[in-house]
Amino acid sequence: MSEFEKIEYEPHSVRELLLEMKDTSELMIDLAYSAALFNDRELAEEVLELESHVDLLAYQLNMSTMIAARDPEDAESLVAVLKVASSADKISDAAADIAAIVLRKIGVHPLVSKVFKKVEEGLVKAIVKSNSILAGKSLDELELAAKIGVDITAIRRQRRWIINPKGSERIREGDVLFARGSHTGVEELKQLADGTLRKLEDET
């Protein structure tokens, strides 16, 4: 039986809560697919933690929204917020279901790697070698999203996980990067990480 945290109202803005729910649920989809693709149990566990965090956010958001509604007009326009939040919650549940496939040792048929080569968005797992130009640089300095169309979704640093790393996060040698992006972009990231590509060029 899992533990359920007690819920108490906290003064957070609806905007803040919904933004976090939207961002987290979308990130979770990619993290969960990455966990399935790379058969990574630890990453799958991170996804489950995010899922319970999104649950808490949903409670908070529902309470903040109720307090924000003053009249029927407010109620009508805020119900859309609740619908979107409930969809984000469902998406987070769906991501957790993928994580469960990995954690319950069901596993996914190896043909899934072919699926991920065919889809629009590529996923990659890359280890940063000592001669990589990524080592020592912050994500803000690298501007991977703007330059190669790649977004780092998680970093595993020894035993620690950094989920959705901030721009100020500095990549270190030995880091395991999980990222999503265009197929050429993720391929470039892999080469940048293992040191075979020594230059980060802006395509535009």
């Binding site: 933004l19 326009s77 996914v108 043909l111 065919k118």
Partner: protein, 198 residues
């Protein structure tokens, strides 16, 4: 054991399910941001399409003749299919907000704009390097990290395929990481000091 041909078919269906479900999510957010009935209707139509695809996918897997010891791994595949369907349903529920003519609270539009993955609407100008290029030639995801979800041309919506040619005047609905927004705007308007792209 499933034949090579069966494997190919399964791969194709699952890839389409995954892409379509995520496209729907982006389109649903776009529909809310732009308060567009048409985009919302597109999402609803795609939802029906996903339902059909999902059934076809499950039948393909179940009839592939996998070995007993492979059954767990095929179960994993089926579960992923279920997830894509759940995402599609969630997207359709969001789009429904627009179809029910609920004027979305301003906070909702703010959130969609501010999110890490954002949606953007931009018109292609005459002197844009994108004009008269096919989607494949334009290489927009590589250059900007943004994906074009839909193209509005005159009164109709086009879902871009690699061979779809972009024309001046087209309105592109794109989603991607917020950092790529400026790059795509510059590409579409042709206002950039940088060299011709290619």
């Amino acid at each position: 054991m499933p034949s090579q041909e069966q494997i190919e078919k399964i791969v194709e269906k699952l890839a389409e399910l995954k892409d379509t479900s995520e496209l729907m999510l982006d389109l649903a957010y776009s529909a809310i941001l732009l308060n567009s009935r048409e985009l919302a209707e597109e999402v609803e139509e795609l939802e029906e399409h996903v339902d059909e695809l999902h059934t076809e996918f499950e039948l393909l897997v179940l009839s592939s003749g996998f070995k007993r010891q492979e059954s767990k791994h095929f179960l994993g595949l089926i579960r992923i299919g279920v997830v894509t369907e759940a995402i599609a349903d969630a997207a359709a529920e969001m789009a429904e907000v627009v179809l029910r003519q609920l004027e979305p609270h301003p906070v909702l539009k703010m959130v969609i704009k501010e999110a890490e993955e954002t949606v953007l609407r931009v018109q292609v100008s005459e002197n844009s390097p994108l004009a008269d290029k096919t989607m494949r030639e334009a290489r927009i995801p590589e250059k900007t990290g943004m994906w074009v979800l839909a193209i509005r041309r005159g009164n109709r919506w086009i879902r871009p395929k690699p061979r779809t040619k972009i024309r001046a005047g087209d309105i592109l609905i794109a989603s991607g990481y917020a950092e790529g927004e400026e790059d795509l705007k510059q590409l579409a308007t042709g206002q950039t000091n940088q060299e011709e792209t290619g």
